[in-house]
Symmetry: C2
Amino acid sequence: MTQDWLDKVSWDAQGLVPVIAQEVGSNDVLMFAWMNREALVRTVEIGEAVYYSRSRKRLWHKGEESGHVQKVHEIRLDCDEDVVLLKVTQNDGIACHTGRHSCFFQKFEGSVDAGRWTTVEPVLKDPNKIYK
Amino acid sequence: MTQDWLDKVSWDAQGLVPVIAQEVGSNDVLMFAWMNREALVRTVEIGEAVYYSRSRKRLWHKGEESGHVQKVHEIRLDCDEDVVLLKVTQNDGIACHTGRHSCFFQKFEGSVDAGRWTTVEPVLKDPNKIYK
């Protein structure tokens, strides 16, 4: 019985680690969030992504309201042990609270002095119908 | 002449934003780093990834020592405007300072009470030959 693997993670001053969620198959980067120790433990226990919400200051079982649960297939740690990568199946194919597949739907266009962020991914489901 | 696009990014209290680098083609997540405003401007200007090194407290043109430059094809911003995703071509196919393709080479195995991080990706180039 050892939780040495948890101590190997370099938790930051707030006790958190950044987490990237990547879709199995497409390899699309779906979202970015944070975990504390408890969130990582819960993720391992239930096999679904559990993050720590910095705004709500509590554990956040992704999909608890929306149903957009992420089934976790693999958990990776980077070379410096301070970033986690989850390989997940995204329920309904919608990770973003805006109803899009991925949170990274704004693309930079232009130049330094005339740049803009353009929305390049469609809304798959009306957020009003996701969060009733 | 406007840099409104830079103001649209939600820089954190340290003036930084987390950045995920993803390989064009494979869609592999290569690494995770940080940028300040200047790093993002330089990245747009030169078309190669320029990060902000928190340990060295200065701009870090990725590959400046190793030659493992990242050519930037696309820059994405997430829904909350506080995370950047770069789509890059990785010079030599090596993003990690350990000589591996990706920094995320440690995979979780086991259970909460008997977990471990196992190295599952090969070293492609001896780090001693990368950093002379």
